[in-house]
């Protein structure tokens, strides 16, 4: 009983503190989600003890099934648990505000910078690095696809169609592909596979 009360007590964190903590996470994470995850683990799990490592792993899995950036998902979830709606709002704003302000300032200056020759030259190289980084992420993600033949076929068809549509100038939004994937996932795993299994069982009987 005492233990339970203690854990209830430990749950409360002020909105201001949530805002500051997530602001720090937003400010010190460069280069996207994976880098941020390391930082979150250190700050939220190790230092603050706001959630256990298992909970964080569960949370990351959950973030993959909800839309949007993982940082925002986590901020909203943890903020809500620690201080209700206000906590969720403050934690989410914490991630957003510094990122937003810095990028806004960069956007104001960058356009003027691009008229200088050295900057243009540097960005020829930056473009190559960006393409390399995206390719690297794409290939490491593609390794996950191997799990089932359904996933592999879907992956290949969508990738080939996307590239074909690009070169043939066919206007077909990526959103439709996502919706088709959602539909096919439900069709195959919620309908066809359970039905065929039922059928097999009946045959056995």
């Amino acid at each position: 009983m005492n233990c339970l009360m203690k854990s209830e007590e430990a749950k409360k964190v002020s909105s201001w503190k949530l805002f500051l903590t997530f602001m720090k996470l937003g400010l010190f994470s460069f280069g996207g989600g994976a880098a941020m995850l390391m930082l979150i683990k250190e700050e939220i799990v190790t230092k603050k003890g706001w959630m256990s490592e298992e909970e964080l792993a569960e949370m990351v899995g959950l973030s993959e099934s909800t839309p949007g950036p993982i940082a925002i998902n986590l901020a909203t979830y943890l903020g809500y648990r620690k201080h209700g709606f206000l906590g969720a709002l403050c934690a989410t704003l914490g991630v957003m505000v510094p990122t937003f302000l810095i990028m806004f300032i960069v956007s104001m200056f960058f356009r003027n910078l691009m008229q200088y020759e050295p900057v243009q030259y540097a960005f020829i190289g930056v473009k190559c690095a960006v393409v390399f980084l995206i390719l690297r992420v794409a290939f490491s993600l593609a390794k996950q696809v191997k799990s089932s033949s359904f996933a592999v076929i879907l992956f290949l068809i969508v990738a080939i169609l996307m590239i074909l549509f690009h070169y043939l100038n066919i206007d077909f939004s990526a959103i439709y592909f996502i919706l088709i994937g959602l539909f096919l996932g439900l069709l195959v795993y919620s309908l066809i596979i359970p039905l065929t299994q039922k059928h097999k069982e009946e045959v056995k009987k």
Binding site: G32, G33, P67, T92
Partner: protein, 203 residues
């Protein structure tokens, strides 16, 4: 009206992005090209900037596009601020609302059978979108296709050279030295190589 447009487009992007920042790249690319907000070259530069600035790439991109489009409106610099704020809020709103609903009502949302099944279809598609976008960007940067007049493929020798150098250095760092290559390091390396190769006229 540009501000409403920004809001709706980025709301859509926020809603249909699964699995983190890189999942957003295909949708943002499609949106800025379709609306004529950016050229492909400007888009790739923006990703480079997003990599070296802090925070989630999704927010970086929304802020940047919003600022660019807003400041082109009649409101000037204030329009830029307003545009970037609107786009940024729009891109995180779906994540915020979905996550809030989940926190309030269902604890084990991710373990719902049908949601898991739908994701088995969404995940390969989302990864295929990133892969095809990566390949399209690669071919556009290294082998730009000239569509004005007769269609012809050209070889961007400088970019091919820099790209191969980056790949080579990356392999040495990760395979030989067994160290990690941070995205910021890779972007800075690209900038340095861009300067060196162009000024020394290496190629």
């Amino acid at each position: 009206m540009i501000f409403l447009r920004l809001f709706l487009e980025f709301l859509k992007i926020g809603l249909f992005t699964f699995g983190g920042g890189y999942g957003m790249i295909p949708l943002v690319r499609e949106t800025v090209l379709k609306n004529g907000w950016m050229s492909e070259s400007e888009f790739i530069n923006m990703i480079g900037l997003s990599e070296v600035t802090p925070g989630p790439i999704a927010i970086n991109m929304a802020t940047y596009v919003g600022s660019l489009q807003g400041s082109a409106s009649s409101l000037g610099a204030f329009g830029g601020f307003l545009g970037s704020l609107i786009a940024t809020i729009a891109v995180i709103l779906p994540a915020f609302i979905v996550m809030l609903i989940f926190s309030i009502f269902l604890k084990k949302f991710g373990e719902q059978k049908h949601i898991k099944n739908a994701l088995k279809g969404i995940n390969p598609v989302a990864i295929a979108l990133i892969m095809s976008t990566a390949l399209i960007l690669l071919s556009d940067v290294l082998f730009p296709i000239n569509t004005t007049g007769s269609v012809s493929v050209s070889f961007n020798r400088t970019s091919i050279f820099i790209f191969l150098l980056i790949a080579f250095i990356y392999l040495i760092i990760t395979k030989v030295l067994k160290k990690k290559a941070h995205p910021i390091f890779m972007i800075c390396l690209g900038a340095l190589l861009g300067l060196v190769v162009n000024y020394i006229n290496l190629i």
